[in-house]
Symmetry: C2
DNA sequence: CGGTCGGTTGAAGCGCATCAATCCAAGTGG
DNA sequence: CCACTTGGATTGATGCGCTTCAACCGACCG
């Protein structure tokens, strides 16, 4: 049994609090002096079972993180966006494989040095804790999705998730990049590509979304999408900033 | 959107490392001076959305931790055993409801005090991190189960999980207490009670397990159960201590 | 231009959900 | 003590949602 943990936050960009003083040391700044490494589409950053030697920060691009059962069944446990950390763990082997689904740029940090920094700087720890908690909350939402949601609810939930994760999460343009293939979506949602495709077609047919080029969509009816996603008691109120009620507050009150 | 995180370890009893010096402060010892509170079967310790005021340590009994969708669908995200922590989070509201499924005993600790202790004692932090990582690893295994395993694989995986979690995880008696109802199992495994029941009947029929009283079973063929659970490349070798290859080592090498 | 890859769409089948009847053990009250 | 109730579990019959299998399409590329 192998080990390794990613700390991918839910999409709230670190280092950009409304009240951030520029020089406050944050997790991102740890990496700032590291050289940027490029990873091309489809290439792996590390494999499940590899010795966990480094922690990574994603600077650009999107990665998938997945586990594979012995008979080949694949489960994508998450997608990693710019600003997220990858490979943070106390275990000595990575728990999963990480592959780029777009050309990506990363910074690398030796695990031991990363841990030293965390131990040295008390103000970094709350941020790390916060990311763990966000990641755990996301994992639990995913369990709800996988255990009880229908195919259409899953696809709707997924579109909402990546829409809200879009850097900054602000309610800008309804144009949404969807860099992952149907197979990626299927393996993330516990479905087949055909079912994902059919669900997308249905969402398009009823006007909730519209295709825009090969790997982007336009969300035409956000509130309706949220209702289709199984987010109950959603009084229909178009374009309320997506759950800005719980923006990420104090972060472990120190 | 609500928040709250449990840190339930995978069943490795804290405070009992092979090389533990008795007085080393560990997470469990924090609670040792707190009075024990009893919770009767079915009673909740806290509800999803409650203000997260306390952290709990389970001393005795088993709890379920779950989320409910707006239309009533329930998903149990985990079961909490003695030695596990409950309610650890940086968020200010609990992410889920916690209910006793057997008579239980808990110790309570104010969240702010808990955080103070964590910040004060550097040797507690690695333990907390380790629990987060174990919890995250368990969540990922659960995602694999929910996304890709068949009903029979799910039930087999579940039995293996609680068998391995049994305090100490040592390969003692094959008698396994199953304190949860079929409904609990179903809501944990993303199935219905009927399907759980049928899968159990099938496991009994083919001799892998045997019923023992109303809420316990005997595991007759552990290796075969593991194979049925979808744990690939399992060469059949009865009663190897269950995955003792990765027992939980150094815990954040400091 | 054929070849490949990702996506869409249709038809058929299967695994699990649903509906329903029955059973069993453990109360509970007359 | 025994009828009656109640909650959990089992088992069967039926139906549906998703998978599976298969054909086809469009974009991209050597």
């Amino acid at each position: 049994m192998l080990a390794g943990i990613s700390v991918s936050c839910l999409g709230l960009p670190r280092g950009s609090f409304p009240d951030a003083q520029v020089s406050a040391p944050d997790l991102g700044s740890l990496f700032r002096r590291q050289p940027i490494e490029k990873v091309e589409t489809g290439a792996a950053v590390f494999w499940e079972g590899d010795e966990a030697t480094h922690v990574f920060e994603v600077v650009e691009g999107v990665l998938r993180v997945f586990k594979i059962m012995s008979d080949g069944r694949r489960v994508i446990t998450g997608f990693i966006y710019p600003g997220d950390l990858l490979g943070v763990s106390l275990k000595d082997h990575y728990l999963y494989t990480a592959e780029a689904i777009t050309p990506a740029k990363l910074r690398r940090f030796a695990r031991s040095r990363f841990q030293d920094e965390i131990n040295r700087c008390p103000e970094l720890r709350p941020q790390l804790f916060a990311q763990f908690c966000d990641e755990m909350a996301a994992a639990q939402d995913q369990m709800v999705l996988l255990a009880r949601k229908s195919a259409e609810e899953r696809v709707s939930s997924f579109l909402l998730l990546i829409a809200r994760r879009r850097a900054g999460g602000r309610p800008t343009s309804p144009l949404l990049a969807v860099p992952m293939t149907r197979l990626d979506m299927a393996d993330y949602l516990g479905l087949t590509i055909e079912t994902v495709s059919r669900s997308m077609s249905k969402l398009i047919a009823c006007g909730v979304i519209a295709p825009s080029g090969r790997s982007a969509i336009i969300i035409r009816q956000l509130a309706r999408l949220a209702r289709l996603a199984g987010e109950g008691d959603g009084d229909d109120d178009e374009d309320r900033p997506p759950t800005m009620t719980s923006v990420r507050r104090a972060v472990w009150p120190h």
